[in-house]
Symmetry: C2
Subunit: 202 residues, 2 copies
DNA sequence: TGTTTTACTGAACAGTGTTCAATACATTTG
DNA sequence: CAAATGTATTGAACACTGTTCAGTAAAACA
């Protein structure tokens, strides 16, 4: 019965076609301004069909949210070769910020846009937890080599992520204009350098 | 000619009435889901009249944005009595986080929601710059008393604000659920404590 | 008493997410 | 092969959104 197999493939293809269109529109217009009709037009289908393959706009969001995390984690995995944990931690921060700069819209989807429907129930954010565990492990490695003595690793992880996210979020939402003398890039890079300088003394 | 004076007063009253309705709806539903019709219904007027008193939804947003900053700055001004600059800085952070916890929706308006129209032109965000200058001055005071040696005060200010904002933004957008073992309050308070611990060594 | 100005209404326009009866078509069954 | 079934797709419809605007009522001015 290769037919039902082919059917399944075709269905998956269609799902992927929608996702491709959605990605393009989402990353072009942002979550709020990307409409189902836009996506449908992009792939030359009727708007209704999207609801045959996805529950709602939120499910598409969650899929791209996941995609973004996979992308980020791929870039972070390159740093596995850095043996010294503290050097790796510093590089993780740099890569994280770079990712936000180069993938502003993915970053928005991943960390800023709030998905108001039932994403919490079906555990759509498990991949985020994974990424965070990864960061926490790294920080614990740093502690094993003598850094950040006496700090709770979970809180320290949250704080580190907050600092990074703060930098990126202010950038993504254009709240950096209040710093008139500096460009975005200068702010992010040198702001992060300040944070690293603090870490170095901890 | 007390008449044009009274007219002016009545017009201001109406503007305020709209703002009051808008505040209620905005802080109840959030920026995106608050509609002009909701606001109009709230104050028992026709939707159209709002456009007689405000240019668009964005102008109402900017007014409430300003309100939020005034509120925050009022709470921060209390700390002027703290003479030691570093103690004051630490307290500023605490108050900032507390403000976000207690005024989640104002915080959203102030630091997260992006206002896509022409807010940049008419300099609607001057108040944000003011607040940031305030923070930068405080950090420079700390430097004068021997802290954060050799750091560029503007970058350091940006970094500090980022750390604080990161904590609050993750909270406001419910991205803290990935830290399964801790409550929001625990994360924010203890996460900030970690940051302070770093500052203390800088 | 007009005339002008000002504040307000409510319908309309083009857009949104979502639903659903109708339809076209490939596959299975008789 | 023909009929029945099921699955994928359509496009109109619903209730909403921000915004505009002709019309209106009333107050102020001449």
């Amino acid at each position: 019965m290769g037919i039902i197999e082919r059917k399944r493939r075709e269905k998956l293809n269609m799902r992927q076609r929608i996702l491709n269109g959605a990605r393009k529109v989402f990353l072009q217009k942002g979550y709020e301004l990307a409409s189902i009709r836009n996506i449908a037009t992009e792939i030359s289908y009727s708007p209704g069909v999207i609801y045959f393959h996805f529950k709602d706009k939120g499910e598409i969001f969650r899929e791209l949210h996941r995609e973004g995390f996979l992308l980020l984690m791929n870039e972070l995995r390159i740093l596995d070769s850095v043996s010294d944990p503290f050097e790796r931690l510093k590089a993780v921060g740099r890569v994280f910020i770079q990712f936000a700069q180069q993938n502003k819209d993915y970053y928005n989807l991943m960390f800023i846009v709030e998905e108001l429907s039932k994403s919490a129930e079906d555990g759509g954010f498990t991949i985020a937890s994974e990424a965070i565990s990864h960061l926490q492990n790294l920080i614990e490695e740093c502690q094993q080599s003598g850094r950040f003595k006496g700090m709770d690793s979970e809180y320290f992880t949250f704080m580190t992520l907050s600092a990074l996210h703060g930098i990126c979020a202010l950038f993504c939402k254009d709240r950096t204009t209040s710093f008139i003398n500096k460009t975005n890039d200068e702010l992010m890079i040198n702001g992060y350098a300040c944070f690293v300088a603090l870490l170095e003394k901890g």
